[in-house]
């Protein structure tokens, strides 16, 4: 199958104040095929957004790649110059964000902003924009409206129109529905699925709601402290989670409990990247921790369709 995105052993580090190196992402291995959807799941501070920003090459100035490569449609983008990146963004990879109102310019109409996103020369930009607005489920008059006249769901649809008008092969959606009502969110999810079908789009969907991820994506990568701790197809993850972190994330869903019960939560907090715990980064919060978890970092173990980093499924130690 055609690989749209392939991330191999990606590592990203942060240059600290005293020039020290703080490792953010370590050994990220992801691949997304054509028309495929992959969801990145994890708490805030687990590295989901940084992974997405790496693919867009939008990392902040004090972060840099220290190993690995990112192949977009077969070519490595980690070394591209700003000018080449401009060609890539929008036409190969696009991104939408959690808060559309923060990314739309309040002084231009929605139509102007979508037209602005069109790349290259084209005779009938307005016609194309109007058609595309219809395709994302907006009425024609939205073209002439300003962002403040649109609801959150409509703004997100304008963002989607801007992201997809150049027909990219990959869309990164960073919590696109978190700020929306359930019914509006449902509409956006359906729209994205629709776009995947129609345009052969691949989607990386970032969310902290594992139930939503399972519903949207065929495969799920669970991230914790800058590593992928479990990668599998969504049914396997939801019905039979292997990693203790995944298990606990699922047990945090309130709909799995009766009224008056207590939700089984995850003890403690997401660790700070500046001082990650030694051994397995999850060990201080893990109910199944063993001695080896404190000493060694677990490597990847393959169990059926699932790749998991946990000593419960094998004594694989990560190579330094």
């Amino acid at each position: 199958m055609e690989r749209i995105l392939e991330i191999r052993k990606l590592g990203v580090s942060l240059r600290g104040i005293g020039q020290e190196r703080i490792r953010i992402l370590q050994g990220i291995d992801i691949s997304v095929g054509k028309k495929e959807s992959l969801s990145l799941v994890g708490e805030s501070g687990s590295g989901k957004t940084i992974t997405a920003m790496s693919v867009m090459r939008l990392l902040p100035n004090n972060m840099y790649f220290d190993e690995g490569e990112i192949l977009v449609c077969g070519s490595d983008i980690t070394g591209l110059e700003e000018k080449e990146l401009r060609d890539m963004r929008g036409s190969d990879v696009s991104m939408i964000f959690q808060e559309p109102s923060a990314y739309l310019n309040p002084v231009f109409t929605a139509g102007t902003q979508v037209i602005e996103a069109i790349k290259g020369c084209e005779f009938d930009r307005k016609g194309r924009t109007l058609n595309f607005l219809k395709e994302v489920g907006l009425k024609e008059n939205v073209f002439y409206q300003y962002p403040h006249q649109l609801s959150g769901g409509m703004q997100q649809r304008v963002m989607i129109a801007m992201a997809l008008i150049n027909n990219p092969s990959l869309l990164i959606a960073d919590e696109p529905t978190t700020a929306l009502d359930v019914t509006t969110a449902y509409g956006i999810i359906e729209l994205l699925k629709d776009m995947m079908e129609k345009h052969g789009l691949s989607v990386i969907f970032i969310t902290h709601d594992i139930a939503l991820a399972v519903n949207f994506a065929r495969r799920i990568a669970v991230m914790y402290a800058g590593k992928i701790v479990e990668l599998s197809n969504s049914e396997a993850i939801f019905n039979n989670p292997l990693h203790p972190y995944t298990e606990r994330l699922i047990s945090c869903l309130p709909e799995r409990y009766k009224t008056g019960d207590r939700i089984r939560t995850i003890e403690g907090k997401v660790p700070d990247f500046r001082n990650l715990p030694g051994g397995c980064a999850f060990h201080p919060r893990c109910p199944y921790r063993k001695d080896i978890c404190i000493r060694e970092k677990p490597g990847e173990t393959i169990k059926g369709d699932t790749t998991v980093r946990c000593f419960r499924y094998g004594e694989n130690v990560e190579a330094e």
Binding site: E43, S44, S151, G152, D181, V182, T183, T184, A185, Y186, G187, I189, H208, D209, I210, A211, L212, N215, R248, L249, C252, L253, P254, E255, Y257, K258, T259, G260, D261, R262, I263, R264, T265, I266, K269
Partner: protein, 316 residues
């Protein structure tokens, strides 16, 4: 069960300026409701359905346009301000965004101390505030820290401690977890359940997420266009939704296909959901349906479900 709140014919109308002059918006439209002691009464609906206005009106943060509110047997609408002030300690509200609800220039300890009764001395207040922070899971050592030193979940805990400082019996929770991660949301929900049992609180829990309301509340009302369309025991309403709108909300919350898409305006005449409803008939445009029992403790206001229901007959 003792009835704590009784709202009858409650309305709140806002006037907004538009191109054609003043436009009237009904945020709450002749609404009747009862809340019993010990309830965690859930209100679900989308943005613009009037659920936040309801939460604010019930504790008179917003004055209702018409209608009556009874707290226990006391009528609090039209009550003189100096009389109402004494009652007000009984009600509290927790907002969605803890970043905006706390004063950034006030340490969390003094923010919590503010609400503790006048008769307590300073050291007593300090001790009590420490206890409250401890109760919501904030270490007493962080008494002098400022809001920016806390994470989102911790700030919401501080907001809860501050709400508890007046020893309220009734708390309006206005989407208190929708800004939080799922794992932190789970902890805050646990805290709400715990506090309710420990302090015998009554909640009005406002949310757009059925998955949360299903967990936290024993009774639920579905709001649309300022009116309640369906109410009853949470389990019954969610397992057996009768109103087309409730069905749509439940379906969307559990990622199932829905019959209709949303719009914003609700009609004043007839059923508020009439413009979107796939089952609408002539009568829905003309008359407002009244509540009819579906089963025990489960009521719906919809003509499609009960052909006998008219605005003249039927029981509430």
């Amino acid at each position: 069960m003792e009835r704590m709140w009784k709202l009858s014919n409650l309305s709140k109308r806002y006037f907004i300026r538009s191109a054609t002059g003043l436009e009237e918006i009904s945020a709450i439209d002749t609404l009747d409701m009862e809340i019993f002691k010990g309830d965690a009464f859930g209100v679900i609906g989308e943005s613009g359905s009037g659920k936040t206005t309801l939460g604010k009106t019930i504790i008179r943060l917003v004055e209702p346009t018409s209608g009556e509110i009874h707290f226990w047997e006391k009528k609090i609408t039209g009550m003189k301000e100096n009389e109402f002030v004494k009652l007000r300690r009984n009600f509290q509200i927790i907002f969605q965004d803890p970043y905006k609800a706390l004063n950034p220039r006030m340490s969390v300890g003094s923010a919590v101390m503010e609400g503790i009764g006048e008769d307590a001395g300073k050291s007593q207040k300090k001790e009590r505030a420490g206890q409250l922070l401890e109760m919501v899971g904030i270490a007493a050592g962080r008494f002098n820290d400022f809001p920016h030193q806390f994470s989102g979940g911790e700030r919401q805990r501080v907001a809860i401690a501050r709400a508890l400082s007046t020893s309220p019996s009734f708390i309006v929770c206005d989407e208190p977890t929708s800004n939080l991660d799922l794992s932190i949301q789970a902890k805050i929900l646990n805290l709400f359940v715990e506090l309710k049992e420990r302090l015998e609180l009554t909640y009005l829990f406002i949310s757009h997420n059925i998955r949360i309301v299903e967990f936290i509340s024993n009774r639920v009302a579905v709001m649309y266009g300022g009116r309640i369309l369906e109410y009853g025991d949470t389990a019954k309403v969610i397992k057996n939704p009768m109103h087309p709108y409730t069905r749509m909300l439940v379906a969307a919350s559990f990622f199932r296909k829905t019959e209709v898409e949303r719009i914003y305006q609700a009609g004043r005449k007839g059923c508020s959901f009439v413009q979107l409803c796939p089952h609408r008939r002539e009568i829905c445009k003309e008359e407002r349906p009244v509540f009819m029992p579906v089963e025990e403790n489960h009521f719906v206001a919809c003509f499609a479900n009960n052909s006998l229901a008219t605005s003249k007959g039927g029981v509430l």
